[in-house]
């Protein structure tokens, strides 16, 4: 039973690293089998700030030191308790959780405590447009969404649904906006295309295949929020360098950016913009294992932050194929 409004605040961390080709996410096993985001309670008595609390239990639980950390959003919709109860052992109380995004350059360090690194596109297959439009969209998502739009009660609602679909997934001539990760997930959830939706409604039948791996509770929603934020942020603040090693080649940096934004970049134009930004400087050293001409190793110029109105990196989309 809910006491006199018992409230528990949980802290959720979306911990991201990028391993050349795949954006990696730290997940921990949960009771129900579905992976979960690292989760820890906020203790009002001992934690002076949320961030301190977060760093503390992440270092305890995952033996992992967080670097860059940023608050995402506070989730508190009713109905999240049931699935959360198992995770936290806090039956009955209202749980609200504050999501955080953390970036780290090291995936080498396999976190202890049961956590594992997982490609985030495993949870969002429709978000990876690097090689081409993900097949699930045409084969599963678009048809199911259109069916849902057709089922709407009135012609007005039908149009509203169609618009939402067009905007979220860039269908019918609209361009794909990679930042709408959360919009897309919420739409899929509402339409019942992701396993979590069926689970939360207590429905027995399974969601269609190919819709990504489910996560515990509403963690996939939190992850979607994190991806949206990160995809937007790399463009207006040089946060990518938080997940780059000390030295890197420009191709490596490009692959990391592509892994994040989810689409291929035009190499020459990416470099030109990078060059103008002044964010990187050559070290003179070379990386030989490229399989072709050796590439120069670059380094992030921290001073650049003090020079201009620190923006992010350009992401010139590569068109065609």
């Amino acid at each position: 039973m809910i006491g006199s409004g018992a409230l528990i605040v949980g802290l959720n961390a979306v911990i991201v690293a990028v391993d050349e080709d795949a954006p990696q996410l730290l997940v921990v096993p949960s009771g129900e089998g579905a992976p979960a985001l690292p989760f820890g309670p906020f203790d009002p008595k001992t934690h002076r700030t949320f961030e301190i609390g977060l760093r503390e239990w992440v270092s305890e639980q995952a033996h992992f030191q967080l670097g860059y950390v940023e608050q995402l959003y506070t989730f508190g919709d009713m109905g999240r308790e049931a699935p959360l109860a198992e995770l936290t052992g806090t039956d009955g109380a209202r749980v609200i959780s504050i999501g955080y995004l953390a970036l780290t350059p090291d995936t080498s360090n396999p976190p202890e405590g049961g956590g594992v690194w997982r490609d985030w596109y495993r949870f969002f297959p429709w978000e990876d447009w690097r090689s081409s439009e993900p097949a699930v969209i045409a084969s599963v998502i678009a048809p199911a969404l259109r069916r849902w739009a057709d089922e709407a009660g009135s012609p007005g609602k039908r149009e509203a649904r169609r618009d939402r679909i067009r905007i979220a997934f860039g269908l019918d001539g609209m361009t794909w906006n990679e930042e709408r990760v959360l919009d897309r997930y919420e739409l899929l959830y509402e339409v019942g295309l992701v396993p979590e939706a069926r689970r939360d409604r207590g429905e027995a039948d399974a969601a269609p295949a190919g819709m990504g791996e489910a996560m515990a509770s509403d963690h996939r929603r939190i992850l979607a929020t994190a991806i949206s934020r990160l995809r937007a942020k790399v463009k207006y603040r040089p946060v990518v360098f938080e997940i780059m090693p000390e030295r890197f080649t420009l191709s490596h940096l490009q692959r990391v950016m592509e892994a994040i934004v989810g689409y291929p970049l035009h190499k020459q134009n990416f470099r030109r913009a990078l060059d103008r930004s002044g964010f990187v400087e050559g070290t003179g050293r070379m990386e030989a294992r490229t399989g072709g001409r050796p590439a120069e190793l670059f380094r992030f110029r921290r001073e650049a932050l003090r020079e201009g109105p620190a923006s992010g990196l350009a992401t010139p989309r590569l068109n065609q194929s």
Copy 2:
């Protein structure tokens, strides 16, 4: 187990409207005299979501219907309780507050319940660069900050402080970045230049004059967060129209944008960009009371949201004077 420290979640609303020349903020009186943001507790038993809770008590307290609402940030640093206790009558418990930004077009509606509309630059005089660089910066802020930098223990720290100052206030050749409202407020707080800093530290001596009106608790920090967010957001999402009336002249729209971003815009270029964006369309009707040639009344084209990758309005800065 989870610390059983009592936790209370409060909801704070930064409710903004723009009255032609001044961005208006809804404030309520607080016990200590300093104005406060409308504040209400989140009731875990009856409020299904935060937003519902927020709308509910705003409509109860201020007899005011909120339109556009967006979550800002969750504040929970320890040390906010003392000043908050008076406001909320919740002594002893740890209070965390979730800040929301709400936009509304109507200031005509003078809110009941003791709330009043106040120009937000009253609380942030140094943020208003519309007519010229605010005098306080050169007369009070810059000298005090430089003094603070000079007092640093080591040369390294001194440089770090100087950098922070340069970046936050755009001094020494750096350009003023209007979005760093929160950075600036936090710097001023840390240095002790705003009344709240002295109050929170229990110091008796007053902060320098001209540093804006203090607010209750950490409300000025929340307001700074809101301004930062809004200034950034108008540029990448057409949220301005949430505070515009149904019909408006382009000059009116420009004045509202200027009120928000805090600097003057280049009229012709602003219009050209607006025109290209397709966000507005002429209605054919005219507004006569301009004091010069009558201006056409325009209207927001909601459909525009469905056409492009909905961005915001351009803010071409007007240089010189």
